[in-house]
């Protein structure tokens, strides 16, 4: 016995009762009228349960404490403007189940199908509404989604077949009075009697109802095929009589009754099959029957969900709405909860009679059973944002982190004017670990790069670097970066290419695509996650680095490998800020150490870090573009005034032909640097920036501002913006921005000659006693820790070696591994290997191989039971059965590699996602434990 509330009144439910049955025992009809089917096919039993409206009471098991309200158009009103906490936007828990065959419906034909499949040694999952499993849809995958009693959502992934054994629905009556209480279908009648509910004087209309003793009926009229016609029901709220007549006879017969039992024919529940038309679906049993059409309705409510009457149908028919879809849309019949469950047979029969044509049923679409938003969200995650290895350092320094280009970046450390001054006047650190970074080698490395960047790669000498554009085949700018040729000539052609942070996700995809398209023999290793990068910038930059132990620093436009503060660095000398700058690329594992040591070494210079907001301002004063901010989808080098970065005289490269083609068109717009002199364009305190503001050339609208930091330095206030050429093809010199004068300048507002960035530096002049010694930390050869530490599972940095080499060379390496026996080797791609050990080794079979000892990944070990439960929730793809086995794909919305061993599983994820993965893992395990059993 369970007690629940209906409109505040207590109702007792017996074991096994649905809400509907329990209510009917007390004489309460859930919606106040309408035929009940107890099959989930109609809207006449909808109630609100615990705040969730449109709940079918015939499908919901009564449990103690449920609060039911019979206003099915309502639902709890959420607090709008109050102090109450917002409801949490959580998804329901999900469970992924893989099988061979799923059978939906466990009536006779469903049980038969399941038995056959089991006899054939197939892995079978069955779902049935009576067990509280409601299938919402059959989707491509294939995938069957169902809610279950435990409040979870099941995602069933059948490998072979979906069997639809959902039976048939019973056709409901459409006559005046069909919205009275006391109408039930034949199966519903049998169900009610079995539940001990007295039907009183029951009249059967249509087929003889099975499951009802004949003596319980006061009359039986075989309406439909049997020669009788149902005319109407009479009563006031509750049925008092049914009125019938013979076909062709005007004389009516009126039968007094308490319950009308309708047996008007069947309608196959085949929506799940029809929505999955070219998936491996088989329909059996009642669901495969031919739909039976009732007689054309004359009068009454055809669609109880949308309250559409026959007169409504007639009205739109007469005005030209003859197609099924037009009839449906013009009346909204069939667009409610039951999605045509009641009305569709009548709509077809109506259209057949009026138009002479049997029109097909509505297109079957999900959702077959309407789950809540919370249930449908089960198993999904929002996008993950990558973290730099220095993320926690920034937080500890008081940074406000912000999302930019898919990464968390420090926007500011709280005092942006101080940050600015530290760069211009002293020295500052910037975390640029989010830059895309690629190592490229191979016999065709130079030829490959020559074909994908517009600069002449052949003239980049060893130890030099050059700013490069990356164009698409339309000649439009995709990204930019620095291309460095390695200094070590013995190593053959080896290059290091960077991209912007925002482009880092796309970078590898793009390089590999062209490498394959051109058939180039290259090795490409993505070092975006394995290398961190710190920018040391400011007039004291070299002195700071000298203090930190740097012996030799590269000149402008060069790079060199040199240890700094005990960390192996590739030092790239370029300048984005306009000051003397060194970009230190180093192993991600050493990032924190390097950052802290640099801050310590720079204490006497009052070094402090600068955030992204300040960086944007600094580069603006130099007129440097930011991809995606100053550039558009159609930004050619010519439009960007970056033709100096393009060499049209070398061989073909991606976008070359497009540049030649578009150069024949007159130029329409250019990205320009503007300088606003005193007074600067007027802006408000909340919006000090002129970004987006119109640029006018006299009266003519001439473009808009793309970058403005809202501040002026000594050289006036710089802005970048798009400027349209005038009718004569000229670029105006004097313009107005927001009504204030600005002038187009060539070059930068700050240090136009670039003297500060290109300063010649002599570190040898640094006196030795100022230089700090740091121990050079070279990690020892490690094996992966076999025992995971005690306590809750936590991701840790993986020290490993990654190898990019030819498949044959990797095969040879694996056949005779130069690493210790306990190490694990993962062949993550035919040409890439990840080994959980870091001995020094060479790849004999491939002189161009790239071997990097690194920590691009983080890892965690999970015990078998834990990992099964975790993956049942967070992994929708089928896991391998073999042990051991490697599998790669998305887990909890994050890219992962899994290594399955007997008894435990290793999960690897790129280090920038480890923190997010940790959170999702911890959250998931906590929820699993909470929902145990």
């Amino acid at each position: 016995m369970a007690t629940f509330l209906v409109d505040g009144q207590r109702v007792e439910a017996r074991a096994g009762d649905t809400l509907l049955v329990a209510m009917l025992r007390t004489g309460v009809h859930p919606t106040g009228g309408g035929c009940l089917c107890m099959g989930g096919d109609c809207p006449n039993c909808l109630v609100t349960v615990d705040g969730i409206a449109y709940t079918r009471s015939c499908q919901a098991r009564a449990t103690a404490g449920m609060k039911v309200t019979r206003d099915h158009l309502g639902g709890e009103e959420p607090a709008l403007l109050s102090d109450e906490p917002m409801p949490a936007g959580n998804a329901a828990p999900v469970r992924h189940v893989h099988c061979d065959t799923v059978v939906i419906g466990q009536g006779d034909s469903g049980r038969e199908a399941a038995r056959e499949a089991r006899d054939a040694d197939l892995d079978v999952v069955t779902l049935d509404a009576r067990d509280g499993q409601h299938v919402t849809g059959v989707y491509p995958g294939p995938l069957v989604v169902a809610s279950d009693q435990a409040g979870r959502v099941l995602h069933v992934h059948p490998r072979r077949e979906i069997v639809v054994a959902t039976g048939a629905a019973e056709i409901q009556p459409v006559v005046p009075g069909s919205d009275l209480e006391g109408l039930v279908t034949a199966r519903a009648a049998a169900g009610l009697v079995a539940a001990g509910i007295d039907l009183g004087r029951a009249v059967a209309l249509g087929e003889s109802p099975a499951g009802l003793p004949a003596d319980s009926l006061v009359a039986h009229f075989p309406v439909g095929e049997g020669g009788w016609e149902l005319v109407r029901f009479e009563g006031n709220g509750r049925i008092e009589a049914a009125v019938v007549r013979r076909h062709g006879d005007a004389t009516e017969e009126r039968i007094e009754c308490d319950t009308a039992v309708l047996g008007l024919g069947g309608n196959p529940r085949n929506a799940l099959a029809r929505m999955a038309s070219d998936l491996p679906v088989r329909v059996v049993g009642g669901a495969a029957m031919e739909p039976e059409l009732p007689a054309c309705p004359r009068e009454g409510t055809v669609c109880p969900c949308s309250r559409v009457t026959v007169a409504d149908l007639d009205g739109v028919w007469k005005r030209g709405f003859h197609e099924m879809e037009l009839l449906k849309r013009a009346t909204l019949a069939g667009t409610g909860t039951c999605q045509g469950g009641v009305c569709l047979p009548y709509l077809r029969s109506f259209l057949l009679e009026r138009g002479g044509r049997l029109q097909p049923a509505f297109t079957a679409r999900p959702l077959n059973r309407q789950l809540t938003v919370r249930e449908l969200a089960a198993g999904a995650h929002t996008a993950v944002t990558a973290r730099s290895p220095l993320h926690d350092e920034h937080l500890s320094l008081g940074a406000r982190m912000d999302r930019a280009g898919g990464w968390w970046r420090p926007w500011t450390y709280g005092r942006k004017d101080d940050e600015y001054r530290s760069v211009r006047e002293r020295v500052s650190l910037g975390d640029v670990s989010s830059l895309g970074k690629m190592a490229i080698s191979g016999p065709d490395a130079e030829a490959f790069l020559e074909r994908i960047v517009p600069t002449k790669v052949a003239t980049i000498r060893p130890g030099r670097c050059r700013y490069v554009l990356m164009l698409d085949e339309r000649g439009y700018l995709l990204d930019d970066g620095m291309l460095c040729r390695e200094a070590d000539e013995d190593a053959g052609d080896r290059f290091f290419l960077t991209s912007t942070s925002g482009g880092s996700g796309f970078f590898e995809l793009w390089l590999r695509d062209w490498a394959e398209a051109f058939g180039c023999d290259v090795r490409i290793l993505n070092q975006t996650a394995s290398l961190a990068a710190i920018n040391i910038t400011g007039p004291q930059a070299a002195r700071l680095l000298a203090r930190a132990g740097a012996r030799e620093l590269p000149a402008f436009g060069r790079h060199r490998a040199t240890p700094i503060a005990g960390v192996d660095c590739r030092v790239v000398r370029l300048s984005f800020t306009g000051e003397l700058s060194y970009e230190l690329h180093h192993p991600a594992a050493d990032a924190r150490k390097l950052w802290r040591r640099l801050l310590a070494a720079g204490a006497e210079f009052s070094v402090q870090p600068h955030g992204l907001e300040t960086l944007l301002r600094l580069r603006l004063e130099k007129g440097h573009i930011v991809i995606g901010q100053d550039t558009d989808y159609d930004s050619t080098p010519r439009r960007l005034a970056h033709e100096w970065a393009v060499n049209l005289n070398k061989g073909d490269f991606v976008g070359r032909q497009a540049i030649l083609r578009t150069n024949k068109q007159p130029l329409d717009k250019r990205l320009v640097t503007l300088r606003a002199d005193d007074p600067p364009p007027r802006r408000t305190a909340e919006d000090p920036s002129a970004e987006g503001a119109a640029i006018h050339d006299g009266e003519r609208y001439a473009g808009y501002v793309t970058s403005d930091a809202g501040t002026a330095a000594g050289g006036g206030r710089p802005m970048l913006g798009w400027l349209y050429l005038d009718a004569e093809g000229n670029l105006p010199r004097e313009v107005t921005v927001d009504g204030r004068a600005a002038r187009r300048i060539d070059g930068a507002t700050y240090d136009p000659e670039g003297e500060r960035a290109r300063a010649v530096v002599d570190t040898a002049s640094e006196s030795p006693e100022n230089v700090r010694e740091f121990p050079l930390a070279r990690p020892e050869a490690t094996d992966l820790a076999i025992e995971a530490p005690p306590g809750p599972p936590r991701f840790r940095q993986l020290e490993a070696t990654r190898v990019s080499a030819t498949p044959a060379a990797l095969d040879a390496l694996i056949a005779e591994p130069p690493w210790p026996a306990g190490a694990l080797a993962f062949r993550t791609a035919p040409d890439e290997l990840l080994v959980t050990a870091s001995p020094d080794f060479e790849v004999a079979g491939d002189p161009h191989a790239i071997v990097e000892r690194e920590t691009a990944f983080s890892y965690v070990w999970l015990g078998e039971a834990t990992v099964e439960r975790f993956l049942d929730r967070e992994c929708e793809w089928r896991r391998p059965d073999a042990r051991p086995a490697l599998a790669q794909g998305e887990i909890a919305g994050i890219p992962a590699k899994l290594w399955f061993e007997a008894g435990r599983t290793l999960i690897l994820t790129p280090a920038p996602f480890a923190a997010a993965f940790q959170r999702r893992l911890t959250g998931s395990l906590a929820e699993i434990d909470g929902v145990a059993g």
Partner: protein
């Protein structure tokens, strides 16, 4: 009486003739709007619209009914603002209830970069006649109290651009009103009549081949959605179009009023409330080019998850139904309207995920072009030849959600 049953509109069907002055292929919003404006603005009524299915059965019957002009380039703002204005007067002009509701659209910013983009949108829009302003978190919450301003704890709302003229209208009714308006002035609309070929007279398109026979035409306009490459190929044209699926879903009705349309680029979804109180949600296109109308689970799953970050009240709403349309995507996220270089053959396509809002202006301008032979200034930037002329209409304000 059910207020939502359509009680006035009358669709008049007539048998097809052997020739017309103008034949339009595709009886969706754009095709019917073209016929409507040809009849009402130019007195050109010897027009037929051929439709392979039922009118409005393509994208016009599947979209999420958003009307707005807060785009990212001047030409687009002008064009869509014209459409916003025409929509505002359409109920009065047709004397039909279109369930047009002006409710405003809030475009969320969850990061500094997005704040910047929305501020820029506001400035550009205002410059070109579409009212949009940037509003701070407090105003956002006032405009939409149901918002979780913490974004589920992960995607805080730092502000938004607010475009008060953002509106919704019942898509079917727009289609029917335009059809009725054209039909009652003499234009023909022929359902269940696919066009399977173009009749060429030398280099010129002189008519169409249909299941009901050949039909001669002074001008042929392709206004089809989803199969435009096929029609263009009949005229020997290749197009910068790729067709992708776009999905949407609707919930049961929500008893509170949900004021504005809410969109978030970073959370990749947008939501509005229909006249029946249901919540209607859309997001981005499917990743692969496809002509399949199949709905997927990961769409409804992902969008529900993201929507819960901003609109946790939706937790207990039931999703009623989901569906799919096929969108013709252009390289610059802008439509393609006008001449094709093939005489007698016009095109209105590339409507991607931004077609419904443009129906009146698109029809009005195409009608003007066909009637006068001159390319109207409002749509001149959207010509097919812009790719060859290196004048793409790359619209950052267009991409994202629609």
């Amino acid at each position: 009486m059910n207020e939502f049953v359509e009680r006035q509109m009358k669709l008049t069907w007539r048998p097809p003739k052997k020739s017309y002055d103008v034949v339009i292929v595709g009886a969706g919003g754009h095709g019917l709007a073209t016929a409507y404006y040809l009849a009402t603005r130019h007195g050109i009524t010897n027009v037929a619209v051929f439709e392979r299915g039922y009118i409005g059965g393509g994208n016009s019957g599947r979209n999420t009914t958003i009307i707005r002009a807060n785009y990212g380039i001047p030409a687009a703002v002008r064009f869509y603002q014209r459409s916003v204005d025409l929509y505002r007067g359409l109920e009065e002009e047709t004397d039909r209830w279109l369930m047009h509701q002006q409710k405003g659209i809030l475009w969320m910013a969850h990061s500094e970069g997005a704040v910047r983009a929305e501020r820029m949108r506001a400035k550009l829009n205002t410059e070109f006649g579409a009212q949009t302003e940037f509003v701070g978190p407090q105003q956002v919450k006032e405009l939409c109290p149901q918002l979780d301003m913490s974004g589920g704890g992960r995607w805080p709302v730092l502000g938004a651009s607010y475009h008060p003229q953002g509106a919704t209208a019942r898509h079917d009714r727009v289609v029917w009103a335009l059809a009725e308006g054209a039909m009652e002035r003499g234009a023909h609309v022929h359902q269940n009549t696919p066009v399977d070929g173009l009749i060429l007279d030398g280099e010129r398109v002189a008519g169409v081949r249909t299941a009901a026979g050949d039909v001669a035409a002074g001008a042929v306009v392709s206004a089809v959605g989803g199969h435009v490459s096929r029609i263009a190929a009949m005229a020997g044209l290749r197009l910068p179009i790729r067709t992708h699926r776009l999905q949407a879903f609707v919930t049961n009705h929500y008893r509170q009023q949900f004021g504005p349309i809410v969109a978030s680029s970073e959370l990749f979804f947008y939501a509005s409330q229909t006249a029946r109180g249901e919540m209607l949600l859309g997001a981005e296109i499917d990743p692969q080019p496809s002509f399949s109308y199949r709905s997927s689970h990961d769409f409804v799953q992902d969008v529900c998850r993201r929507a819960l970050c901003l609109l946790p009240f939706m937790s207990n709403l039931r999703v009623l139904r989901q569906w799919t349309g096929v969108c013709d995507m252009s390289p610059d996220y802008s439509p393609i309207m006008g001449q094709t270089g093939v005489e007698g053959f016009y095109l209105t396509t590339g409507w991607g995920t931004w077609g419904f809002k443009a129906i009146p202006a698109g029809g009005e301008q195409m009608a003007a072009l066909i009637a006068t032979g001159e390319v109207p200034e409002l749509i001149a930037p959207f010509g097919l030849d812009r790719f060859a002329r290196d004048r793409t209409m790359a619209d950052r304000g267009s991409a994202g959600t629609h």
